[in-house]
Amino acid sequence: MTGFLSQYGSEITTLTFEHLWLTGAAILAAVAIAVPTGIALTRAPQWAKPVIGVANILQTIPSLALFGFLLPLPWLGERAARIAIVALTAYALLPILRNTYTGIRGIDPAVLEVARALGLTGRQRLFMVELPLAASFILAGLRTATVTCVGIATIAAAVGAGGLGELIFRGVASVDNRLVLAGAIPAALLALAADAALGLLERWFKAPA
């Protein structure tokens, strides 16, 4: 065991950071797309069904297939990490988008009515009322997205994007369970840690002021 760790320890660390980077970049991109889109949909709810539907369809594409689809694309195909981040972003969109939309739509209409009637500007209503009141919902979506992405990111190794999946794939190919676990255990721990951290944040936002 100690021999195994001394042999693979530094690689596990490097791949863990790579895994974190792929997932983190994808989540940031997904937030940057899904939160504004979710807000926009609350202003034009007739679009909510089709747009959330598209995000839903993205989610149903098998991840291995999605990685494969992106491979021949120009620019994207040049670097495996780009493919991985784009694919992971696509998977992270739905939970964040849906929760942003339902979180804001779920706010007590009387609160929104008064915010409007008292002369808060659109921006003030968004930042003082809507986003804070929907925050725990949005964070719950972010949490789901993150945990999902940490898992799916292991498959990114199939297109050579690195991350902990690399150890798993190598372990499978060489029938070495130690290698499989060397990839799977840190990936699982990452997912649990992200889940716990975002869960804490979510609860903090849910607590009454």
């Binding site: 009387a110 009515e113 008064v114 002369g119 003030q124 003082m128 009454p208």
Partner: protein, 267 residues
């Protein structure tokens, strides 16, 4: 002098949609509310009371006709400035659940970018004015308050930016009779001191008589009466009579005035 309000031929029509035909919610309403006076709007549910109130701060726009605030057409006013100059109180209160009571009261001042010290001072002043001790209430959260207390905070919030006009949509409708009476006393005393132009939508004739200088009765979007309370009570107009008779029936029955208990409507 606080601004007056004038309605000129105000109509509000909901266009036909699908199988439901178009509906005329307000039908050429014209009347004036004098500066510093209180007008109560009475009428059945669906008679257009709330819609009429909401044309003043342009929460809805009249489909035809004009509304004037301080002799200025509300359509020409800057929407945000117009609304900040008009206090708004509704039955559901709509307090911001994630704000402390103090922040709720000062929210319009916050929106205007006023400093924290001023907001705190104003909030303390207003909480005291509506009968809540700032020391014990300012830091609390809305969900720690009773219905009556929440309504007091809603009123304090509406008054924070010193609006000349106060729009109140059934503010005390959800409260028990004793709490409601206390709130009415508090509001009456406050209005006597503050001098605001008030438009009060209510279902409660007694509340209208107690608080208002004039009573407007709406029926199916039409203005049926616009009278001082004593004339409203004495009126022989059938629509007014049946409205007045709908109240205190139990009281009349208990006194033995059996006949009078009938609303006088069609049998």
């Amino acid at each position: 002098m606080p601004p007056g309000i004038q309605f000129r031929d105000v109509s509000f029509r909901i266009p036909a949609r699908g199988s439901s035909p178009d509906r005329l919610l307000l039908d050429s309403i014209s009347f004036t509310i004098d500066e510093g006076s209180t007008t109560a709007i009475l009428g059945r549910s669906g008679s257009g009371k709330t819609t009429l109130l909401r044309t003043v701060n342009r929460m809805v726009d009249a489909t035809s006709g004009e509304v004037f605030v301080a002799a200025r057409n509300v359509r020409d006013a800057d929407l945000i400035a117009l609304r900040r100059g008009i206090g708004y109180v509704i039955q559901e209160t709509g307090l911001f659940p994630h704000f402390s009571i103090e922040r709720n009261v000062g929210v319009v001042l916050e929106a205007e970018g006023r400093g924290k010290t001023e907001r705190r001072r104003r909030s303390n002043e207003l909480l005291t004015a509506v009968g809540l001790d700032p020391d014990s209430f300012a830091a609390r959260s809305p969900n720690q308050l009773s219905g009556g207390q929440r309504q007091r905070v809603g009123l304090a919030r509406a008054l924070a930016a010193e609006p000349g006009i106060l729009l109140m949509d059934e503010p005390f409708g959800a409260l028990d009779p004793l709490t409601r009476a206390e709130m009415q006393d508090m509001l009456r005393a406050l209005l006597a001191r503050l001098h605001k132009t008030v438009l009060l939508v209510t279902h409660d004739l007694d509340e209208a008589l107690y608080l208002a200088d004039r009573i407007v009765l709406l029926d199916q979007g039409r203005l049926v009466a616009n009278l001082p309370p004593e004339e409203f009570l004495r009126s022989t107009e059938p629509e007014i009579v049946s409205y007045v008779r709908a109240f205190h029936r139990g009281e009349r029955l208990a006194r033995g005035e059996h006949q009078a208990a009938n609303t006088g409507g069609p049998a």
